[in-house]
Amino acid sequence: MNGMADGLVIAGGMVLLALLCWPRHGLVGRWLAARRLARRVRREDAIKHILKREVNGAEATVDGLAGHLQMPTRQVLGLLEDLEHRGLISFEGGRLHLRSAGRDLALHLIRAHRLWESYLSEETGVAEVQWHRQAERKEHLLTPQEADALAARLGHPTLDPHGDVIPAPGQPVPGDVGLPLNAADVNQPLRITHVEDEPPAVYAQLTAQGIRPGMRGLLIEKLPHRLRFWVDGNEHVLAPLVAHNISVETITDCAPQDLLDEEYLSGLDQGQRGKVLGLSPACRGPERRRLLDLGFVPGTEVFAEMKSPGGDPTAYRVRGALIALRKEQAGLVRISSLRPATP
C-alpha cells in the first residue's frame, strides 16, 4: 500500500513539474512569454507616442512619455536607454529622435492599429467603445504581412473609423488635420475630422452621445465652461476638456440653417414623405451596406406607410418596395421632409 502511495506522490509531483516547466506551454514558460510581450508592448507604445508627437509638430519629452505610459520617470529613462541600445531612437541635441528602424516600426504599429479598428467596425459587431482597446493589443501581434493581408481584405481603406489616415506601407503618416472644436467659430458649419480615442473615458462619453467623424454640425454657443454643439440632429453640451478631443474643419458648401433643418427618417410620421439626403457616419459596416442595397441613397423618396402594433418597427415605401426598419436604423438616415403628396 505504501509503495503505491509513494508512487502516486511521485507521479503527481512529476505532473506538477511538467505543468510548471514544460518548454513554452508550461506555466513558467507562459509567464516568461507574457513578461516579454509586456516589455515589447511598452517599448512599442513609447515609439508610437514619439512618432505621433513628431508628426503633429510637437516634441516628445520624458515627462510626456511617463504620463502617456503611466510609468515613473526613472523607469522611462531605463526604457529609453533600451530603445537607444536597440537602435530605434537617438538623442541628438538633447532631443528624442526616431531612427529609421524605429520609424518603420512605429508606422507599422499605427497602420496595424487603424486597420484593426477598421476591421472591427466593418466586419464584426464589437461595440464601438471596445475598438480602441482591442486594437491597442492587436497592433503588437500583427506582423506587417498580416497587416497587408488585412488591408487587402478590407479593400485597402484609407481612413479608419475615427477619421484618421491609414498610412500605406512605407508612406509617412500625416498629422491630425483640423482644429480642436474649442477653437472653432460659433455658427460656422463644421465637419468632424477626428474623435480622439484617448483617454478612454472621454471617448466613451463621445461615442455614447453619438459623435462620429464625418458628421456635420455647428457650435451654437461657446462659453468658458461649456460648449453647445449641434451635430447631426442633436444638441450636445460639452465641457471644454471633452470638446478638445474633437477635431473639426470648416465647410463652406452649406449654410448654418441647412444644417439645423436636417431631419431623420425616424422623425417621419406615418403618412409623411421625405427625401433621403444620406446615411449618418454612425451607420457602419454591414448595416450601412444593407441600407444602401435597399435603396436608401441620396435622392430617393421615402414614404412612412405604417407602424407595427408596438410602434416599432415602421414600414417605409422605398422605390416601390415596402421595407420595415427599426427606430435605431431609421435614426441613421438623414432626410429632408417633403410636403404631403397632393392627391
Binding site: G125, R290, D312, P313, A315, I323, A324
Partner: protein, 476 residues
Amino acid sequence: MNTSPAHPAADRILQSARQLRERLSGDLHEQVVEAIYADAARLAGRSVASPGQGALPTWERAVDRFVTSRIWGFPIMLALFTLMFWLTISGANVPSGLLSDLFIGRIYPVLSEGAIRLGTPWWLKGVVVDGMYLATAWVVSVMLPPMAIFFPLFTLLEDLGYLPRVAFNLDLPFKKAGAHGKQAMSTMMGFGCNAAGVIATRIIDSPRERLIAILTNNFALCNGRWPTQFLMATLFVGSLVPAHLAGLASAGAVTAVAALGVLITFAVAWGLSRTVLKGQVSTFSLELPPYRPPQIWRTLYTSLIDRTLFVLWRAVVFALPAGAVIWISANLSVGGTSLAEHLIGWLDPVGVVLGLNGVILLAYIVAIPANEIVIPTVLMLTVLSARLSGVGEGAGVMFELESPASLKQVLETGGWTALTGINLMLFSLLHNPCSTTIYTIYKETGSVKWTAVATLLPVVLGFLITFLVALCWRGW
C-alpha cells in the same frame, strides 16, 4: 502593392491611382451604389411607363392596415395559427391511423411471417423487421400526415405575403430579446418541425440573429412532441382535477408547456445576445412583399417535396439504425438481464432525482431519431423492465395501447406518478433536438461548436427545471 523598380510605368500608374483615391471624399462603395441607383433610376424613368400615379392598389393598403393594426393584428394572428394547428392535429389523425394500419397492422405481420417461413435466424428477423422496419414504419406513419398538412398551410400563408406581416407585428418583443422579428416565422415553423424551422432561419440575413433563431428553435414544441403532451396531460393532469374539468385542465397544461417554450425562447435569446454572441454582426431589414394570389399547385409541390419529403427522408435515415439499436438493447443479454435493463438500472437513480425514471431517460437516448417513437419505446421498455406479461409484443418491439385506462395501468405498474407525467411533459419540451434537427443544425451552421450548444443547452435546462419541479413537488 509591389513597387518593383523594374516597372517604372506601373509605379506611376499605382502612384496616380493612390493620389486619385485620396481625392475621393467619403466611401468608395457608397459612391458606386449611388451611381448604380442613379443610372437605374434614369433608365427606368426613360423606359418604364407608370400608368396612374400611385398605382398601388388601395385594397392592399387597407389589408396591411388591418392585419397590422393595434386592435386586430394580434387576434388575427392568434386565430389563424389556432386554426392551422387544429387542422393539422385533427386532420392528421385519420391518415395517420390509415398509414399505421397499413404499415404496422398489415405489412408488419406479413413481413414477420415471411421472415419466419424463409427460415431467417430469429436475431436477423428481430433486428431487421422488429427493429428497423417497425421504427421506420412508426416514424413515417406518425410524421408524414401532420407534415403533409402543416407545411402546405404554412407555405400558403408565406406565399400569400401574410407571414412577413407577422414578423413585422412581433418584431418589438424579439428586438428586446436581441433577436429578429423574422424569428417569429422560424419559430412557428418549429411548431411543425424543428428541422424545417432551422432551415427556415435562412430568411434571417443577419448572422447573429440567425444563430439565435437556430439555437432556440428547439424550444418550439414540434409536431412529434404534441402527442406525448396530450397523452401525459390526459392521463396525469386531467386526473388531478374533478372529472368535468379534466378536459380543460389537460388542454391548459399542454398550452402552458407550449407557452413555457416560447418564454424560454425569449429568455435564451436574451441571454445569448448579451453574452456569447455579443461580437457577432447584427443588422435588421424586413421586406414586406406585396400580397399575391397563392399558387396552389406550386405551393403543394414545393412544400411536399422540399419540406415534407426532405425532412421525412432524414428522419428515416436516422430511424433505421435506431430501430436496430432499440431491438438489440432489449434482446442482447449480459449476465442474464438485457442490456436495456442494465441501462435502465444505471439511469434510474438520475431519473428519480429528476422526477422521471430510467425508462424515460433511456427512451430519450435510443429514440433520438424522432420524438414520435418516444412513447412506444417508453411502453416497450416499461413492459420489459417491469417484467409484465400479457402486454405488448415482446422484447424490443414497440407498440401502443388504444385505451388510456390500460395505458395508465401499465405506466403505474412501472412506478409512474403524476410527477412523472408532468416532468415528462417538461422534459419533452426541454431535451436535445432529434437527430434530424441536430444534423440540420450542423448543416446550416457548419460548426460543431454551435451544434453542440444547440444540443446540450436544452438538455441542461431540462435537467434543471425537472429537478426543481421534483424538489418542489416532494417538498409538499
